[in-house]
Amino acid sequence: METKFRESIARAVHNPNLTGALGRFSEAYRTSRAKAYEGYDFEALRTQIAERKSYAASHLDELADLFTKNAEARGTKVFRTNDPAKVRDYILNLARENGVKSVVKSKSMASEEIHLNKHLEAAGIDVGETDLGEWIIQLAGQTPSHMVMPAIHMTKEEVATVFNEQVEEGQKPHIPKLVKFARGKLRTKFLSAEMGITGANIAVAETGTLVIVTNEGNARLVTTLPKIHVAIVGLEKLMETFDDVVPVLTALPKSATAQLMTSYVSMISGPVPNTDGTPKQLHVILMDNRRTEMSQDPKFKQAMQCIRCASCLNVCPVFRLVGGHVFGKIYTGGIGTILTAWFDALKASDDIQSLCIQCGNCTEVCPGKIDIPGLILELRRRIAVEKGQPLAQKAIFSVVNNRRLFHSMLRAAYVMQKPLQKGNFIRHLPFFLSDMTEFRSLPAIAEAPLRDTIKKIQQPACNEKIAFYAGCLIDFAYPEMGESLVKIMNKAGIEVVFPEGQTCCGAPARYSGAYEVAAQNATDNIDVLLANDVSYVVSACPTCTVALKQEFIGTFESLGQTDALPRAHQLADKVIDFSSLVKKLVAEGRLKFKEGQQLGKITYHDSCHLKRTLHASQEPRQLLTQAGYEIAEMYEADMCCGMGGSYSLKLPEISAPILERKLINIKKTGAPIAVMDCPGCVMQIRGGLDKQNSTIKVEHTVQRLAKELE
């Protein structure tokens, strides 16, 4: 990671205006978005959008031809090119031929993608952005910090200063007055401009129609007053039929700004008369700039389903801390990272992609059903292939994968940590490692790992056996979680087998883009976990569960190792997470809670992988309620705690403030106990509370339930 990038993160997280504005917005967005979608079947809607956009991506060439034919038949000039330079030249020539001195623009990300303004201005043409946010950042000489709200990072005081310095003195930081001022200044520009430039939200092939959505009404003026209208349309905006407009226009305003409909929608299918009666010159530029290539990529074709609503930014725990100047270039946030890699360059996305914590929030709200975290992982993988893994990382993986070496190093570490250890915590690490313990204590490595202690447990003779996959944290830091699990299973008449050869689940390697390493981990684990005849393979770590159940398959697929797939599927079928298994056993009457207990308040934190990948959020809550606890729901219970595996080690400056929010929300419930299903979340949250000397107890659900089952 570049030093400059690290510094930009530090500046952003220490900018209270930025984090305050983005934080408040993301909190309000969640509620207002839900309200906008009331009465709509979002899943059905987004399935339809994804299907229609995916169809378009598979028929891009055909639809571009059809659009061209239909639009030209109505008198529109259509120019199609893959080359951004040709887009700029086309517009510049057109401006010169028509003696254009002044251009007004309504929002067009495509024009920003190709740095159009700079080129027009260099040729002596005055270019005015007219979307208020875009105008502000144009005056300030900045790039948008959010795809829908480009100036969200600025306060009214900063806006007033920009107006005073760049336009006219005397502006006060009073929002309605600032808006009025902008209206007046831009009105003059609208009335004098000879050319209007817009983007488009949809381009309908069947009818040659552009659909343009705005709230301010600027696109209506841009397409009405100047005699020339140029629309720059990325090929991903193409859709086959006019009926395809309905689902996109239904979702876009709700997802983007939580409106039922934007103030204005214009559907333009050909030239209309100018105010002096002459026919308008209408030019549509169908811009490729690697979109065709993207649509032919088996993984990234999905990204063509984006409708640019920016909801992935609004729900992202990282974006709301750092904003789009850090998390993105022209295109920002999760999807922006992917678009930057394609429309700019893969290496341009290198630092940005590392910001994704893989919590999956965006996958729940994306109206295009894009697996944004999955695509970011794929970027990471391709970057790692292109430039190789960092040396230090390679060294770590070679240790993790050599089980004997890893285990003996951990034993050595156990001995070495002694001077730093206080109880079960390490509160301070020396030197360059100090960042890791600045905001939370780390768990001490257990004296004996689970793989040793489990042998000492006297298990009753049972007819049924299950295999336990511990994962590194339970094995080496929290063996007591595994011991609790054995206790519970024994009560249900199930013997727990611990396959000794189990090794790292490969998540750290996979999330670092080191897929070859992850594939080796997968192969090793599949071999040992399928060696025993067991009814289930259970894990009490959701990240490991997801690895076993889904990612082994995904990793083999990515690498084209199809031979390994049947056994990966065989394992996947047996894998279950701890809470879902216990829920099942309770339902079957094989486990019973102690009767009539009133255990008081408890709060539950949803771990990302459990809730959003394994879709188990009710199971642990129901079990805790059955045990006799009263669940005191915390605010944003399913928001990431900032752990993200090795993320918290790589980016402690982001992990810490995310955790801070989580701790506040936990404390606000007043519950004396916080439980969760992931040892990683336990490590993060318990460590954070320990640093603050809090008395709140943090446990894995398995530990709580073990105490309350008969």
């Binding site: 009818t207 709230n215 301010e216 009405t224 239904t250 409909m261 333009i268």
Partner: protein
């Protein structure tokens, strides 16, 4: 009242539009003339009212209107619209579940009067009300016209500190006037 109309009214008001209904055209006309007078329309720059040609005006004496409110201009052009306080036009359809108005807006005067002035009065025939967007899109097709406009409430922005501010580039007031189609005019 018709529940579809009630839905429209609720949705449109929720996005800061005003909604009125008159059983007769002359009631609607009287309301508009009153409104123009009250809002200070006169025969002076910045105070004109521009009225785009529309079915509502058929059978009405335009001179009589201009006489009763000086400053009402029926010969809509760019300069007059830029100097107008109020713009009046008739919209073709209303969409209930989003409070949206829809119009074949290929004729430029229809767009001038609804973009440049501060206030837009939108006339809609009461029976031109549909439930939702899919129904609306069966009424006007892109095959029939090069410009279809949808208007939902007045112009708005939240670009500074996310504070909702009404009236950026378009009208800051949208007044929707429904009238029952067959009403006679005095």
């Amino acid at each position: 009242m018709d529940p579809v109309f009630e839905t429209f009214k609720m949705r449109a008001e929720a996005v800061n539009a005003e909604v009125h209904h008159f059983p007769h055209k002359n009631g609607a006309l009287a309301f508009i003339l009153n409104y123009l007078n009250d809002s200070g329309v006169r025969d002076l720059p910045q105070a004109y009212a521009v009225w785009a040609s529309c079915p509502f005006l058929e059978g009405l004496d335009q001179r009589q209107i201009s006489d009763s409110v000086p400053g009402v201009i029926f010969d809509v052009n760019r300069e007059a619209s830029a100097q107008a306080k109020v713009g009046i036009s008739q919209l073709d359809w209303a969409i209930a579940n989003t409070g949206t108005l829809m119009q074949d807006a290929a004729a430029v005067d229809k767009r001038l009067v609804s973009t440049l002035p501060l206030i837009h009065i939108a006339l809609v025939q009461s029976d031109r009300l549909v439930a939702d967007l899919p129904s609306a899109l069966t009424k006007i097709r892109p095959e029939q016209t090069n410009y279809i406009s949808f208007i939902t409430g007045p112009s708005r922005t939240a670009d500074i500190e996310r504070v909702l501010t009404i009236g950026v580039h378009g009208p800051e007031k949208l007044i929707i006037v429904f009238f029952d189609g067959s009403g006679s005019v005095n």
